[in-house]
Symmetry: C2
Subunit: 355 residues, 2 copies
């Protein structure tokens, strides 16, 4: 058995894989593969409608918001957000809390003036900046709720005089959020929602259409909202697997239950990191992510052999990102406490051998 | 058994579905699902490299071209093509041969001056315009090689003093083309290449970087080319299924063999349409598509009952697009001659009953 700690694309529940595999052969006893049905068929319309309904249900999306399934990942949102929200000659504000946050504001600079209100780059993004003022004259304030590479997370939506835009790619559906706090939320699916190839966007309708830009149709949220995410051929299978995953989440008790589990999983692993003399965390304590746990060894020379041991025992994806080094355990929704305990046991075993 | 004549997403070979299903449970005996592996893993790097190599091999792509796997479908290319090829204050030329060709030039108008050199719209796009001059002072000339809705196809690349850009979404990989005739070819995968969710782009490198535009990175072909289609997380599974489909095509004899089969399939069906007194084709004879065969009944009142009969016998997806009415048989690479013969038999059976 493998324990998949990969950062994304990443683990999904095994029940989801079973159903997802079956539908490739025969979707809903139709005699057809899910890969060969028309996106305009009643069968697929039912899929996309249920997927949208489950997102609204699980995240308690209020009226006045559109839930969209798009393509191109968070990187495409880095451009679509300013296209749709930043007026010609306008200004937007960004928080620089990591590599992806930084890419987001750099792309936005191609569309207008960008004010970076704060950055933790000088500290290699080991914390989330907290001391800053959001300018009231900007069109929106953009931040990244979970920094996948650096293992930091911002749990509270900042107080803001302007619409909040948040990249939740790596923590959406992992904990309760108040959608009404946001003007726009986006997330590449490939962490907690589904496989690579679909992007979730939740947008407050009344913030759209105010830029004065002639937006290409395919990048205009309004076109996608009007067409129920079927402006053009959607990524059928990625949406279907997301549906299976959302059903799994709903059946196990929804966001409340998964957040409870995620808190236990993260605490179990951080406790071992803090207790075990060989290891230490890299992120500032109060900003530690519940999704990506980054840690190194006190003696860096031991890292190679610990990594080899994890691989030997079927724990995959634990090598840290080159920007941080050491290890990164991505412990998304579908990763079980059993996998966490297996890693913790291995850390203890390794510490005994190397005491 | 179903015979899938759907226009897209559409039939793929049953062998492909078998392997595609297995990989969801266990990819290459890795103990992991293809849906949960990292796009940066060696295993997926091998997938994307082989997919690219097979496209180059099957289409004899010459040196100096990049083969890219992107997201967003042909509709996204409608915007990306002018972003990357149309200089600020420049002009591009388009041929209007159908609904999608028309959408392409309307999106391009958001980026500069567009000259529509000819249109068959007045004749409900029943033919491909042939009398026109391509302006030498335009940046490129765009056309659609196969008009999925209207059942027309342009088999010869037009002589052009400027780079040709072609939307080959519905006939790529169905017949021999000379890539060197083109500056850029694009195609949504979901007809002959793979499932929905990935878009093929083949672009001549030396036509890029000449617009003076500050292109958002995610829409810049050069960024994707430099990164080997891994500028951001690619649609892993859609690429993998495309690979399986390309392997199938290669094993059966490549483009030469599939073109031979496609000619026989199309001829068999058009022969019956022309012979059978109840049916008639809608496209002009010399422009008839080998991929989408559009036809109506002499007595339109019979169409409902013929459609019902096809569905009763397991032939799906034959209802014509509302712009044309009647029937559309999409007979892509994976559709067998057996399915064609089944349809022809049914047309004959119906004609006898309604003689």
């Amino acid at each position: 058995m493998k324990h998949n700690f990969g950062a994304g694309p990443c683990i999904l529940p095994s029940e989801v894989f079973q159903e997802a595999s079956q539908a490739i052969i025969d979707f809903n006893n139709s005699g057809l593969s899910i890969l060969e049905i028309s996106h305009r068929s009643k069968a697929f319309e039912a899929v996309i409608e249920e997927t949208e309904a489950l997102v609204k249900d699980l995240l308690s999306v209020p009226d006045g918001y559109s839930v969209l399934f798009l393509q191109g990942g968070a990187s495409q949102q880095f451009a679509m957000v300013p296209m749709n929200l930043l007026p010609q000659n306008g200004k937007a504000a960004y928080l620089d809390s990591g590599t992806w946050a930084s890419k987001a504001y750099k792309e936005a600079q191609k569309f207008g003036a960008i004010e970076v209100v704060a950055s933790s780059k000088d500290a290699n993004y080991t914390y989330v900046p907290k001391e800053y003022t959001i300018p009231a004259d900007a069109a929106y304030f953009h931040y990244t709720s979970n920094n996948t590479i650096y293992g930091t997370e911002l749990f509270e939506a900042p107080q803001s005089p302007i619409p909040l835009v948040c990249d939740m790619s790596s923590d959406i559906l992992s904990r309760k959020i108040n959608v009404a706090d946001y003007g726009l939320i986006y997330a590449g699916a490939q962490k907690n929602m589904g496989p690579a190839g679909v992007t979730l966007v939740i947008v407050k309708n009344d913030i759209l259409g105010k830029t004065g830009r002639d937006i290409p149709s395919i990048f205009d949220y309004r076109k996608h909202a009007e067409a129920g995410s079927m402006y053009n051929t959607p990524p059928v299978y990625a949406i279907y697997v997301s549906l299976l995953n959302l059903r799994w989440l709903k059946a196990k008790g929804g966001i409340e239950e998964i957040e409870r589990e995620n808190i236990i999983k993260a605490r179990t692993l951080y406790d071992e990191i803090d207790r075990n003399p060989l290891f230490k965390g890299t992120a500032k304590l109060e900003d530690r992510s519940r999704m990506n746990v980054t840690f190194v060894m006190e003696n860096a020379e031991l890292e190679k052999s610990f990594l080899a041991l994890t691989e030997e025992r079927g724990l995959v994806g634990l090598k840290g990102h080159r920007s941080v080094g050491g290890f990164r355990a991505s412990i998304y929704n579908a990763l079980t406490i059993t996998s966490i305990n297996t890693l913790v046991d291995l850390m203890q075993e390794f510490a005994e051998k190397n005491a």
